[in-house]
């Protein structure tokens, strides 16, 4: 039924319909509303049988999820930002052990400087951990991706992370068609583990593996990721047949036919970018959008296909690798077709800075004029940067640069 709901509530209701048996999470903004809502459902019996386990940290939350999954339970958790980093050793272990935990990541920047707002730094920090990483464009897709995530995770014995933009999606109230319980039940069979800690049929999970077999074990995990590239589209198609909704899959192409310039992006910013593309299309410009829904495994062949006709590719991404540049852009470059479109990276939306339609149209304009550099930072205040560089040059004890920049801004740029 279509309802006007907060994104976090839509995710919580959908996760509950996936019948998780163990939920263990530690609250952190902007994930908190999801966990609060699921906790309430467990408490009032709406989600049963399910054990909600309170722990003292994210490290424990992922560790409990691993234990629950190894014991054969369907396990769910959620986190964001510093919370994800705090659990990172266990994040790698869940994947390395092949345990199909599903986790919501309410994307948020990583400190320092501490910042609670949205960007994709947290997801990028664990891109090599061996989890499938899916990015939601809307709250409808965020909700739907969770149903697909459990199915993918349990079919492949690989954990899945559903990434949704913190605040921008988690705290937005918009229409979401919550999936019927009967549809979930037909789509998502009870969890049949490939490995389980069973006293009647004992195994040990988590062997120490030396140089004689480590490479093979890791390669097997890589192959499972490649299997996911095959499975993700078919699961999305099956989901679409049941619900009529095109949620999930590898990519979301938009107006790519005959597009000479293609913007590649992930997550909720795609909506704003589509508005910008429609505006430019109305003036006759041949522009399109490629939304990357599946970031890990990266759909190299599908991206190459989608960009085959492009002359210019602009990757707009909410994270970057310091000292290098774009993260998504590097993958897009690897996947780029032999025709070799010109590639530019625009780092945008860091730490919650808004990305507007006007901004995106500006980027398209600069690209058309040939003045968009290979790497740029959207709406970067170069004066603020130059003044801090000058302070650093002028004095050895110039002090902490985050504080200096804030003081500079508070003084209207007068503090030199």
């Amino acid at each position: 039924m279509l309802q006007q709901l907060e994104g976090s509530r839509a995710v919580a209701e959908t996760v509950a319909r996936c019948r998780p048996e163990v939920v263990c999470a530690y609250p952190i903004s902007p994930q908190t509303h999801i966990i609060e809502a699921i906790g309430a459902m467990v408490k009032d019996g709406r989600l049963a049988p399910c054990e909600f386990i309170n722990v003292e940290s994210e490290y424990a939350a992922m560790s409990v999820s691993i234990g629950a999954s190894a014991a054969g339970a369907r396990a769910y958790t959620a986190t964001a930002s510093q919370g994800l980093l705090f659990m990172i050793e266990a994040v790698y272990n869940a994947a390395g052990l092949g345990l199909p935990v599903v986790m919501t990541l309410a994307n948020r920047a990583i400190g320092a400087p501490i910042n609670i707002w949205n960007d994709h730094s947290d997801a990028m920090a664990v891109r090599d951990a061996g989890w499938i990483q899916l990015f939601a464009e809307t709250n409808q897709e965020a909700a739907d991706l969770h149903v697909q995530a459990f199915r993918l995770a349990e079919t492949l014995s690989v954990p899945v992370m559903v990434c949704m933009d913190g605040f921008i999606l988690t705290h937005a109230v918009e229409a979401v068609d919550l999936i019927d319980q009967a549809v979930v039940d037909s789509f998502l069979p009870p969890y049949e583990p490939r490995q389980v800690l069973d006293p009647d049929d004992p195994v040990s999970i988590g062997a120490m593996v030396g140089p004689e077999a480590f490479e093979e074990v890791r390669y097997l995990a890589h192959l499972r990721q490649l299997d996911a590239l095959e499975l993700i589209p078919s699961v999305a198609e099956e989901f679409a047949a049941l619900t009529g909704r095109a949620s999930g899959g590898l990519l979301h192409p938009y107006r790519l036919d005959d597009a000479e310039t293609v913007i590649v992006a992930m997550g909720s910013v795609l909506g704003t970018i589509k508005d910008a593309v429609d505006a430019r299309r109305a003036t006759g410009e041949r522009v399109g959008v490629l939304g990357v829904t599946t970031f890990r495994p990266f759909p190299v062949a599908a991206v190459a296909d989608a960009l085959a006709g492009a002359r210019r590719v602009i990757v707009v991404e909410k994270a970057f690798s310091l000292g290098m540049g774009g993260v998504l852009a590097t993958d897009v470059a690897t996947a780029s077709p032999a025709s070799g479109p010109e590639l530019a990276t625009v780092v945008a939306g860091l730490g919650g800075r808004p990305i507007t339609r006007r901004d995106v149209e500006g980027v398209l304009g600069r690209s058309a004029q040939g003045t968009l550099p290979r790497l740029s930072f959207l709406n970067l205040d170069e004066d603020v940067v130059a003044r801090e560089r000058a302070r650093m040059a002028a004095s050895r004890r110039s002090g902490p640069f985050a504080e200096n920049v804030l003081r500079d801004l508070a003084a209207g740029g007068a503090n030199r």
Binding site: E6, V173, T272, T356
Partner: protein, 195 residues
């Protein structure tokens, strides 16, 4: 698309107001999107929330820089925070105050906006009288319905009954209805031909 920006202080139900408005618009079969300004909200600190209403799917996620209506839940924000930046030339302004706009130093706005597009509403007093708490958000939404006609009062009432239980819902509906009446009467008087 009709875009609303709501300014207030933490604890005044600024975020809830945008959500209620979105639910009321959804009730009318329209597309709506409500979201907060994502600050580290604290009681008493300036807070902003947004609501978009449209007949088509709303895809954009950017903050509202060019609102069609601005609701000010706390008069102490006037002249301290940029409340009316980007306001559409024929936009609406609603202020939580029993004073006329001229008395609030908003003469420039009165002159700039079409007649009848700026209204005051004693929302805190109405909330205290009907709900028993000094939370002005719901009366202001009732006043918003009367001022703009963008959402009908009965849709707001249904959103309130969806959000709150039993007596609390009815008290809020009463507060919204009272505010609607005040602004509606004022607007009617404004529209009446004068000699």
């Amino acid at each position: 698309m009709f875009q609303v920006r709501i300014h207030g202080r933490g604890g005044q139900g600024v975020v809830t107001a945008a959500e209620l408005l979105a639910v009321a618009a959804f009730d009318q079969g329209r597309h709506a999107q409500a979201f907060p300004s994502f600050g580290s909200e604290r009681t008493g600190a300036p807070v902003v929330s947004y609501c978009r209403i449209d007949d088509h799917e709303i895809r954009t996620r950017e903050p509202i820089d060019e609102p069609d209506a601005v609701i000010v839940q706390d008069v102490t924000l006037l002249h301290r925070v940029d409340l009316f930046g980007g306001l559409a030339p024929s936009g609406y302004v609603l202020v939580n105050s029993s004073q006329p706009p001229d008395g609030l130093g908003l003469g420039e706005l009165v002159a700039r906006l079409p007649a009848g597009h700026l209204a005051g509403c004693p929302a805190t007093e109405l909330a205290l009288a009907h709900v028993g708490r000094a939370v002005p958000n719901v009366p202001l939404l009732g006043a918003f319905c009367a001022l703009t006609g963008e959402v009908p009062l009965d849709a707001l009432a249904r959103a309130l009954r969806h959000r709150f239980a039993d007596e609390v819902a009815e008290r809020n509906v009463a507060a919204a209805t009272a505010a609607f009446g005040l602004v509606h009467d004022h607007e009617e008087a404004h529209r009446a031909p004068t000699a």
